[in-house]
């Protein structure tokens, strides 16, 4: 068999890394136009790395298990938000508050992840679109609980949380109590740039966890399932169970990620925060050069920086270039959806080509 895969060609390199390259070019073009200072951009990037990395990390494990991008991570985000609403009501502040929110969110996230995993096991080969729709479906359940049950079945004491009609949580919940408590737990300032060291430490710990996890028995099983389900099954791996666990872990991590995300932002947008979380995390991971089948830690961090650089810069660039900030606003929406479409299409296209190639090899034509 000829070694076709190993040959390094410029075309192949461009093909594999087209998305990050496009983004670097875009940023190189937009940063000078936006007229932001380097200091400002570095500060912004540090904040956004702290804010988003954890959510993006939560996507890695299902990719190892061959289940693609877990659009169902919004389930975890919702669990995290329920935890945050409760601790805000109980007025528990600072790190203990965050920890308690995480403790409340964990069983919820496990239950939701279990449900998600079970459903995805019934929709093999269509995991992404199914988890995507599942996100919408559970969003409906979440609204039912938060908008009608909170303050009605589940007691909420703080009047500032509850809608004026007496039940249901308001549109925006102020998280002043835990705002930035993890980010600046250890205050560090370099050249006037505040470094959210506390969050970085947590992110580092979980990155290490993922590296370690890949080497465990379970991690290896997941990789085997991701390569080929049938082969893994005949090797004695409980395929369904392994897939289920990968989704549960992802959902729980997403819940923690959302708590970290919101402690940085400082306000919970009760009915929108989670939707954006999924969207942006997936776009960032793909911008970092990940594909549906392969994602690494560098993909996560490069992706977060590149994606959010574009995010910060484009409205101002649009304003100076054409005179309408709104235009830059729409442009970044377009780019964040377009990049996902592009990355998914490239992945599927290449897979189709490889299948065709394998077929030719099989017939001995190549």
């Amino acid at each position: 068999m000829k070694k076709r895969e190993a040959k390094f060609t410029i075309k192949r390199f461009l093909m594999t890394n087209i998305v990050p390259i496009l983004f670097i070019l875009l940023s190189a073009f937009a940063i000078p136009i936006s007229q932001f200072s380097a200091n400002y951009l570095i500060q912004e990037m540090l904040i956004r790395l702290a804010r988003n990395s954890f959510l993006v990390l939560s996507l890695l494990i299902p990719i190892i298990a061959g289940m693609g991008l877990n659009f169902g991570m919004v389930l975890g985000a919702m669990a995290g938000q329920i935890g945050l609403i409760l601790i805000t009501d109980w007025k528990i502040l600072g790190i203990p508050g965050m920890a308690l929110a995480a403790i409340i969110a964990t069983p919820l996230a496990i239950a939701l992840g279990w449900m998600c995993g079970t459903i995805l096991n019934r929709a093999k080969g269509r995991e992404m679109v199914t988890s995507y729709i599942l996100g919408f479906f559970v969003n409906g359940l979440y609204q039912l609980v938060v908008l009608y049950f909170f303050g009605y079945l589940i007691p909420i004491r703080s009047p500032e949380l509850v809608l004026s009609r007496g039940y249901g949580i308001r549109n925006a919940v102020n998280l002043l109590g835990i705002r930035n408590c993890l980010d600046y737990f250890i205050p560090v300032t370099i050249h006037g740039v505040k470094v959210p060291l506390g969050t970085f430490i947590v992110i580092a710990i979980f990155s290490a966890f993922i590296v370690w996890f890949r080497r465990t028995k379970l991690g290896q099983d997941m990789r085997a399932v991701g390569q080929d389900m049938e082969v893994a099954r005949s090797a004695g791996i409980a395929v369904e169970r392994t897939r289920l666990i990968s989704i549960v872990i992802s959902t729980v991590l997403a819940a923690y990620g959302q708590i970290i995300f919101l402690q940085n932002i400082g306000t919970l947008n009760t009915y929108n925060s989670h939707e954006q979380a999924g969207m942006f995390a997936i776009a960032a991971l793909l911008v970092g050069g990940a594909s549906v089948a392969k994602a690494t830690l560098p993909n996560v961090f490069v992706g977060v920086v590149l994606f959010h650089l574009m995010f910060v810069v484009s409205p101002m660039a649009g304003k100076y270039l054409i005179g309408q900030a709104q235009l830059g606003e729409y442009f970044r929406v377009f780019v964040s959806y377009g990049v996902v479409a592009l990355a998914l299409a490239i992945y599927e296209w290449r897979r189709a080509q490889e299948r065709a190639y394998a077929r030719r090899m099989f017939r001995g034509e190549a």
Partner: protein, 348 residues
Amino acid sequence: MDRIKKFIIDIGWPRAIIALFLLALFVIAPFVNVRLDSSISDTLVRFGMNGVLVLAMVPMIQSGCGLNFGLPLGIIAGLLGATMSLEFNAVGFLGFFMAIALATPFALIFGWGYGQLLNRVKGGEMMIATYVGFSSVAFMCIMWLLLPYNNPTMVWGYAGKGLRTTISVQEYWGGVLNNFLSIRIGEFFYIPTGTILFFALMSLLIWMFFRTKMGTAISAVGANPDFARAAGINIDRMRTISVMLSTLLGAIGIIVYEQSFGFIQLYMGPFFMAFPSVAAILLGGASINRATLTHVVIGTFLFQGILTMTPSVINSMLQTDMSEVIRIIASNGMILYALTRGVRVKSR
């Protein structure tokens, strides 16, 4: 008892539950002071309004391209046609058909490109279609700001450029179909005959199309691609044609929707419009690889019935507005059910 069980399994649990739910809503309605006649009339209006959009699902499902989550692409073509007909100040039936005529070339071009893309990503169509829809909507947001429209009813008053987010078509071709031969009984009840006739005409055309040689070939591609290839059918070509047809129906569908609704919604308006149509056809009994016109009619009626009845009935019963939440859960639950049911072909 066995008979009932078999019947329910035949039509599927979710459909049975939702049909019963809708029936219950119609029964309860008079007791909570919701007028039955106006409810039925509303349901009919919305049925006509959305029918063609749901019909747009059929060609792609039949050719094996899956659920058309890329419907916004067709909608955008329709929006371009609609705004251009307003730009030319065309009114009445002339304006309506002009909008369709102007939208057609866009729909065919978009559909062709979209079809080419989907042919290269066989197996992953649905997710990519969703994102193609989303990104094209976002791209058009930029375009609506920049395209050189001049009609003062459409552009922002103070800037003189950039289209408004909602544009009224009332003075142009609003309600032309709804009012055509419409039957009005009493104060609350009327049948939008024109819209329903138009939907029937479109359905008839699709029905006839799927009985031509090409239509049969498209269905064959969806039912069994390998068999189709062995029979000498050009799979990619058939799929492209089905996608173009779906996109065109989406464009016509949104124009019908607008003439009934009375407004053109631009910018993020078309963003989630694919989901109600997808849910409706699945509710009608379609699966992700087989859909018929019966599915369209039953599905649209059930889905729009639920949308019309839940706000009024549930609100008067519970004194709260839960309709939005119920809509989200029901429509996405339906899609989820269809996705997990797999592509088992019933042995018959």
